[in-house]
């Protein structure tokens, strides 16, 4: 499939091509491990082969004897370094080289540094540990786990949302379903491997590492290494697959920095794909129980959502997606509860729409089940339960175009041609099924700083310490400046991914477009005002047009009278060669310390369900067709249609790409993706791209994205709702409902594999 970028509709920006697209596809973009570094030494990790116990002795003599080995950093060598702290900037509190305790499979036991990668790798394989090992708990099914209520343990879930009298409503419901759902462990497998390159110049440290949070990492790494943050710089200009995996810093970064300081040379450590399973974060497995009661008229009177999530022994990681599921429909009553289950596993972390992907999967599967129980069309069932306000806090939605999304997607998909009877649609030996589900993602925004420079030649430079993680934010930030300054895109350059730039929040939570564009807008507005003043001033080329409305277009300042002046002439009159403006954007509701916190790498998030005036979400509707062979039961997805409304769309090309990628990932989550765990040993077993199954090109056929026009002036000055994480929410439920429609089999545990569908 190869389609032109969508033509912009109302409140949608032009499909400007990616500012760095050519660099990326021609291999000229340098990713952090590609940066040429003089005199670099190579680091390779050695990791544990048990999941619980203690390292009684680490045998490193054979490794030391390998020709070219320079150093081995291990127990004792990090004692003067601060331990990582669990939170948004650090993945885990587990400090692997501070402590001989093993908390999980694949925990770092040493870093070998050598003259060549090959020598370091050979030596790392020769390191072996003697363990005092204990029986580990792998997850939900294991003995020895510890379960606790999640609410209040982590800012992600302050309290369990509830509304009305669930027990009474549940007892009295005419139609009920009470079902369990589950989602598996999933590991980030970005094509760009995880890496750290540490370079010291005196007490100044530069880190090249793919990062979604250069400012946060700078501050956290400085704390660990006991340095002034001003002496730490994190550089990450291009990132080859992030999706949350490069959001929190892991223990490795400080270990590599220490190694570089010890040997007095730069050290580069590229983590193997297999070792990334244990040393990076992942999406934890979840379980859900949903109780839904409805009247015969289809109105949901009771909604109960219980969730369980696996985490590590020490860290209370939780995603708590009940925040969204409890506000999705017009429930008569709501009861939710989230628990975390501590096991002998590494600490989970963010993966694209961390709360919504698993929780909305369970909700939307239940919605399809309830529609079937009511004998109601699933789209109609959602229409009946469309709320005027969200039921937890009684706040209005800043905007909500879900039904419009359903209507447009259903129309494009041809939903009316679906025969509702289960198992009724067939072509030859292939059973056909069609299903749908809702996508939702909270709209948040954070403080952000940016610097914009305009020269008399009309060159624009935008600087912002955000991160181009593939979303297109570098393009969009440039597009925003180009539009406001009336300059062609070719004259615009954008610098990102460097903690030396004005700080931006972590690129997570789909906040970047709104936050960055709002800051860029603010800086551009000041540039404009200065130019306008110069243009209409006493010596200005538009002198005397002081009362006219001014604008910038085609490299000129123009007045509504039709008079215009070339930029060069305005600059000449102002007797400057360039105007450079730095702006700090703080969203409505920000605290007085908001900017200080941004600089400290701890930005405030606003929006979602946290604002006083309204709740803020983007919505979408996805429709899927599956085909299932009647003999061998493999599932194929010939087409998927999604319609999404997300306020102002900055660029229809990059927006479409994000949503399309999300839906494709959703198909993978439905049918392919799962980390397999050896339950006896709590070890990951499918640690490569052969056995960790994600869709390949041949699995993805027609993918249609519809951008539904929507205007929302409340969310942020740019009017933008982030949509980077919206696309893969709901997809797996849509696939599951299509599988049910084709076969009559209700698969509640992901992924849906052949073995679930055999007779």
């Amino acid at each position: 499939m190869n389609q032109a970028a969508p033509t912009p509709k109302d409140n949608q920006g032009d499909p400007v091509v990616r500012i760095d697209g050519r660099l990326k596809v021609t291999g000229q973009a340098s990713y952090p491990a590609d940066i040429a570094t003089a005199n670099v030494a190579y680091g390779v990790l050695a990791t544990s082969t048990i999941a619980r116990g203690k390292v009684s002795k680490l045998n490193i003599e054979d490794a030391k004897a390998v020709t070219g080995v320079l150093d081995i950093v291990t127990y004792g060598d990090m004692d003067n370094i601060g331990k990582p702290k669990f939170g948004n900037t650090s993945a885990s509190s587990i400090a692997p080289l501070h402590d001989r305790t093993i908390f999980h499979d694949g925990q770092i036991v040493a870093l070998v540094v050598a003259e060549t990668f090959e020598a370091a790798e050979e030596a790392a394989m020769l390191i072996h540990a003697d363990y005092e090992d204990e029986q580990p708990s792998a997850g939900f099914e294991s003995k020895g786990t510890k379960t606790e209520a999640a609410a209040g343990k982590n800012p992600m879930l302050k309290e369990d949302p509830k509304a009305g009298d669930f027990d009474a409503a549940w007892a009295n419901a005419a139609v009920k379903i009470d079902e369990k759902y589950s989602t598996p462990t999933q590991h980030h497998n970005p094509i760009e491997l995880f890496s750290t390159t540490a370079i010291w110049q005196g007490d100044q440290l530069t880190i090249h590492e793919p990062s979604q949070n250069v400012t946060g990492w700078k501050v956290e790494l400085a704390r660990q290494l006991k340095l002034d943050p001003a002496n730490v710089r994190i550089i990450s200009p291009y990132i080859g697959g992030a999706f949350g995996s490069k959001g929190p810093m892991t223990a490795r970064t400080a270990i590599v920095a220490v190694a570089a300081r010890r040997i007095g040379r730069p050290v580069r450590c590229v983590v193997s794909r297999m070792q990334a399973f244990g040393t990076q974060t992942y999406r934890a497995e979840t379980r859900h129980r949903i109780r839904m009661g409805a009247g015969k008229d289809g109105r949901i009177t009771a909604f109960g959502h219980e969730g369980w999530e696996v985490t590590s022994r020490p860290d209370p990681y939780v995603v708590g997606g009940t925040s969204a599921t409890a506000r999705m429909y017009d429930y008569g009553s709501v009861l939710t509860h989230v628990s975390i289950v501590h096991a002998d596993r590494n600490t989970p972390g963010y993966m694209r729409s961390p709360p919504e992907t698993p929780y909305v999967y369970a909700l939307e599967n239940a919605m399809d089940e309830m529609a079937a129980a009511l004998g109601m069309d699933p789209v109609e069932f959602r229409r009946i339960n469309e709320p005027a306000k969200e039921v937890i806090g009684g706040k209005p939605f800043s905007s909500r175009s879900l039904i419009k999304c359903y209507d447009e997607a259903a129309d494009a998909f041809g939903w009316s041609k679906r025969d509702a009877k289960v198992g009724s649609m067939r072509e030859g030996d292939w059973l056909i099924g069609m299903g749908c589900a809702t996508a939702i993602y909270p709209t948040a925004v954070a403080p952000c700083a940016a610097r914009v420079r305009l020269t008399s030649d009309g060159d624009v430079r935008v600087q912002c310490g955000s991160h181009e993680i593939g979303t297109g934010v570098r393009t969009i930030a440039g597009q925003m400046a180009a539009e406001l300054l009336g300059i062609a895109m070719e004259k615009v350059s954008v610098e990102m991914g460097d903690s030396a730039l004005p700080p931006a929040p972590v690129s997570g939570g789909s906040i970047s477009t709104a936050s960055v564009c709002s800051a860029v807008m603010q800086a551009c507005e000041t540039v404009r005002q200065k130019l306008f003043a110069g243009a209409v001033g006493k010596d200005g080329p538009l002198s005397g047009s002081g009362n006219a409305k001014l604008d910038m277009a085609d490299g000129k300042v123009g007045a509504e009278t039709g008079k215009s002046a070339k930029l060069a002439d305005v600059f000449k009159a102002m007797q400057v060669g360039a105007i450079e403006e730095y702006a700090e954007f703080a969203p409505k509701g920000s605290s007085p310390e908001a900017l200080k916190k941004l600089y400290a790498g701890q930005p405030e998030f606003h929006g979602g369900e946290g604002d006083e005036d309204s709740v803020k979400y983007a919505f979408g509707a996805e429709f899927v067709e599956v085909r299932i062979n009647s003999y061998t039961r493999e599932v194929r997805v010939p087409r998927i249609v999604g319609a999404f409304a997300a306020g102002r769309i900055m660029n229809t090309r990059t927006a479409r790409s994000q949503l399309m990628g999300g839906m494709i990932w959703g198909i993978g989550q439905a049918l392919h993706e799962a980390t397999e765990i050896d339950q006896r040993h709590a070890r990951y077993v499918n640690r490569d791209l052969q056995d960790y199954i994600v869709p390949v090109n041949a699995d993805i056929k027609q993918v249609d994205v519809i951008l539904v026009p929507e205007v929302d002036r409340e969310v942020n000055p740019a009017g933008v709702k982030g949509l980077g994480e919206l696309g893969n929410v709901g997809t797996a439920a849509a696939v599951a409902s299509a599988v049910y429609h084709a076969t009559g089999k209700r698969i509640r545990d992901l992924p849906i594999r052949i073995e679930n569908l055999l007779a």
Partner: protein
């Protein structure tokens, strides 16, 4: 990766001389100090993982014998030189139309890049992808005889249900080999002790108590050619591969089927099963069921039952029995319906 010596012999005798000089005669080829490499798509991977640990690699890509790189097709047979690449064989029009099961078994394997690298001789010798074999920290009887089998009571979704032993349940994942064993192919082998021809069915060994010994080859022997006899069944043949995704995945179950039909009646059926057994697997019992019978869904089902009569399921791979049967039934019916 461990350091190793690399040599590039100029012809087959030179390669054999090096092999017999550096490889102990009685070592299985996979454990010998000197090992042959061609495409390297399997061996290089396992060397990086520390599973294969040769001291010396003998690169066969420099061998001068032209026949090693040729495909010879006559009315009676197809002869593949062992260094022919998978991609080249898969793309040959005469093979695609004259003996589709071979072309399909190659086409559906690996990825385009791998097929352009991998040699046919190496392909049939590919080693298992068992997760516990690939990761050296696990006990594994195949990798370290006597250490135990971690898969037996571990995560064994991809493991075999046929031809297993108490020592090993690792699946033979190859596709091409299923076409070869179904079609009674032979392999030509050269060694220091001379040249021999072996039925392809005799090349691989069941794991039994010695899963580390995978083939009947000695460490100083090279496969030089593979020959496939052609007959009335060749053009009515098909390879059906069922897997978790549409490309770049090993079979959960596959079937190589070739039928010689007299109207609706089966004169002779040739069947092999992939993804379900420890070695390339000829389903003789299923062939016997079909012989002389009208091929309809009921007879196909009976043949499939016979093929899996001895299957032994474990915790996670039990579905392969049912899937294997469905795969064979579907393959038989689809092959029946081919235009011969």
């Amino acid at each position: 990766m461990r350091p190793f010596t690399y040599e590039r012999p100029k012809n087959v005798p030179a390669a054999l001389a090096l092999a017999s000089k550096f490889a102990a005669k009685d070592d299985p080829p996979t454990e010998a100090d000197a090992q042959f490499i061609a495409g390297g798509t399997n061996l290089a991977d396992y060397m990086k993982l520390g599973v294969a640990r040769p001291e010396r690699l003998l690169d066969l890509n420099g061998l001068s014998e032209a026949s090693l790189r040729q495909i010879k097709i006559t009315d009676k047979s197809i002869r593949f030189g062992a260094l022919v690449r998978m991609g080249e064989a898969a793309d040959r029009e005469e093979i695609r139309s004259g003996c589709p099961v071979i072309a399909q078994s190659l086409q559906l394997a690996a990825s385009g890049q791998l097929r352009n690298m991998a040699s046919l001789g190496g392909n049939v010798l590919q080693r298992t992808r068992c997760e516990y074999f690939r990761e050296t920290s696990w006990p594994c009887n195949k990798r370290k005889p006597g250490s135990g089998c971690s898969a037996m009571n571990g995560f064994n979704r991809q493991h075999a249900v046929l031809g297993t032993s108490d020592a090993c349940i690792a699946t033979y994942h190859g596709d091409f080999a299923q076409a070869l064993i179904a079609l009674d192919a032979t392999v030509e082998i050269e060694g220091r002790r001379g040249r021999r021809t072996l039925a392809f069915a005799k090349l691989h060994q069941l794991p039994g108590k010695t899963p580390n010994i995978e083939t009947n080859l000695a460490a100083d022997e090279i496969i030089t050619a593979i020959e496939v006899p052609l007959g009335p069944w060749s053009s009515r043949s098909r390879y059906l591969k069922i897997r978790d995704r549409e490309s770049y995945a090993f079979a959960l179950a596959s079937a190589a089927v070739a039928l010689d039909m007299d109207g609706d009646t089966v004169r002779e059926a040739r069947i092999a099963l992939g993804g379900v057994a420890t070695v390339p697997w000829r389903a003789g019992a299923a062939e016997d069921v079909l012989k002389g019978k009208v091929l309809d869904e009921a007879t196909a089902n009976r043949a499939a039952e016979a093929a899996f009569a001895d299957a032994r399921p474990l915790a996670f791979n039990g579905f392969k029995i049912e899937l294997g049967k469905s795969t064979l039934t579907r393959a038989l019916l689809e092959t029946r319906d081919m235009k011969s």
